[in-house]
Amino acid sequence: MIALLALTGCTPTVKIEPPDKPIVINLNVKIEHEIRIKIDKELDELLTNDELF
């Protein structure tokens, strides 16, 4: 009886509750970074143009 109590007492109960709101992952930072790198490259090309810079 004691052993049974001890067993049930130790049974871990893990509850997973789904979030009520949809999970939103914000990737704006990464996209902005990529755009910056792209613009950087395009501007580098512009700077090699003797008529412009």
């Binding site: 792209k38 613009i39 395009e42 512009l46 003797d50 008529e51 412009l52 810079f53």
Partner: protein
Amino acid sequence: MKTKLLVLAAGLLLSLNAFAISLHDAKSQGLVGEQTNGYLGIVKSSPDASALAKQVNAKRKSHYQKIAKKNGISVAEVSKMAAEKAMKATKKGQFIQSKSGKWIKK
């Protein structure tokens, strides 16, 4: 598209000869310098310098606009980034504009 490119190329070739002074010469003679807004500014006022700045800036603007549109950001942002680069690339002895708007010899 092809004809557009041809016209553009011809225009660029012709415009090269249209200047009384080249951009490179104007820069090294201290007539023009790089502004903080990404455009060429006039350091020493002369008809040649202003004509050159006007032409060069018009070309720069169209390029900035193209890049801005392609990447979905404002032209002001593109030109600001260009200004940083142009100032960094400016050779010693040529002029750049300070944040307060003064011309400094690099």
